[in-house]
Symmetry: C2
Subunit: 299 residues, 2 copies
């Protein structure tokens, strides 16, 4: 049996008072069976990001406790920072990792939204895969006008929250709650100092210019190595795993007589990101997720 | 931080009295932080196999509790079965999975051996990587003569146990405790009905005929498909991961004009078995074990 694992990466509007950030992290991490993997904060953004995982029940409860603590300790009336934001808990995405699909994460977003509204009196917007309408899928659109602008605009019919009052919570603001696939940052280094080749290849693979619809990519120069890089975000690794992009980049680079040097995956990723590619190259048929020992030890 | 995970696969000399097998499994599984992944038993062998995992402390304690229960409930004086055996708990291997090496598992084998001797009065032989001398590495050699034969031969100097009395425990017999790498059963199916080709390739890759020293392999016919298969055991996937064998089989098969159809991995394996191959094919440099999310959730 594989246990269900969901990841959650809430962003809080506090990046300066370390004791407040730590209180929030503690509220999340002290929740039974939720585990904080990482947290970081930025003074100029005045914003912090917490990454935690656990089973759906634990993650839902921990997300609520983090938002509750943030509502107690952060006052949006006195908040300033470079990063766009509209609430003390600004955004909460639920991300399926193991044994759950995006549908279950959408359900979690709705449950949490209802609870933030009912228990903390915070207006909530559902976004990305949980969005109630297409124009709310993009977080930047949801957050338009930020905290200060939303105070007035929230009363417009098109800005009506999905849950809670049609009035910004004075201290806690408003919160976006959503569901999305895990993002896998994947870079491929080319044996060339010609950044144009990397840019051409990025254009071929990314959705915005006709490539894979779940892939974002740019061509950049890496100063340290003097080599060009195709820097990629795989936004749905189930649909487009690393090997598919890697093989396409290799083929396209060969057309310029350029070799692929190596690749790198940034950050913490579900093991399936790599096992999918191993299955492809090894012609590994019939391999099942529950054959991975580490998946069977989780709870 | 990655938590340490050790696997243990004890074999017990009971394959008929289901209630006894379940008592043993319960003694293991009730140990805090030890988790039973699987157990199976065979009536004609009159033998059961339990697979469990956990951190080193939990696994050591659970292995002891299983052996204690087996000593209470199994009487070797009344045991018969087709499979060679010398004790109620016949053999206990510790297997490194994550965050531990073979050295730590050897240490566990010695600690458990000492405890089985001191607390249960059972003579213990260390075997495989934990063996105290080369002639005890092979389990079949350690078990020679079985329970009945060992009653006399145990007094010979060359059969002196590594721990405990130089006298077989009348009810519990003797136990082999060891450490080994996880075994990965890996089969590669060829697009041919000529089993000789599979046999030739098996000979090339296996250690016993000059190939990879940690690889065992045979060429067989699969009746259901009418195709030949190279059936492989990777005895140390750190040294020889699946892709290295797969690529060599592919090359050797091509020499006969035969294609590789597909491959299969049997049973539950550490995720690194697959991530090692993904790293190879994707030229993935600098990837670290703690970038696998599932490894960070274990305890």
């Amino acid at each position: 049996m594989i246990n269900k694992i969901v990841q959650c990466v809430p962003n809080f509007s506090e990046g300066r008072r370390v004791e407040v950030i730590e209180e929030i992290v503690r509220a999340i991490g002290d929740t039974e069976r939720a585990r904080v993997l990482d947290y970081s904060y930025d003074q100029s953004h005045n914003r912090s990001v917490v990454t935690f995982i656990g089973n759906p029940e634990a993650v839902l409860e921990a997300a609520f406790r983090g938002a509750k603590k943030a509502a107690e300790r952060i006052d949006m009336r006195r908040h300033s920072g470079e990063h766009p934001r509209m609430g003390a808990t600004d955004v909460i995405p639920f991300i399926p990792i193991t044994g759950v699909g995006i549908e279950e994460c959408i359900g979690m977003a709705k449950m949490l939204g209802r609870r933030l509204a009912d228990e903390l009196d915070i207006p909530v917007y559902l976004y990305e895969a949980a969005a109630s309408r297409p124009e709310r899928e993009n977080l930047a659109d949801v957050r338009q006008g930020e905290y200060e602008g939303l105070i007035d605009s929230i009363t417009k019919p098109e800005r009506k929250p999905d849950f809670g009052p049609t009035r910004v919570n004075p201290g806690a603001g408003a919160t976006a709650v959503g569901a999305r696939f895990p993002l896998v940052p994947f870079n491929i280094n080319l044996d060339t100092d010609d950044v144009k080749i990397a840019q051409n290849i990025a254009r071929v693979i990314r959705g915005s210019s006709g490539g894979f619809s779940t892939v974002k990519a740019l061509g950049v120069m890496i100063k340290e190595t003097g080599k060009a890089q195709v820097t990629i975000n795989l936004c749905d690794y189930h649909t487009v795993p690393p090997h598919r992009v890697f093989e396409m980049v290799k083929k396209e680079a060969a057309r310029y007589g350029v070799a692929v040097l190596d690749s790198e995956i940034i950050g913490v990723v579900p093991c399936d990101v790599l096992t999918k590619s191993a299955e492809f190259y090894l012609h590994l048929n019939g391999f099942k997720g529950n054959q991975i020992m580490e998946k069977r030890l989780m709870e």
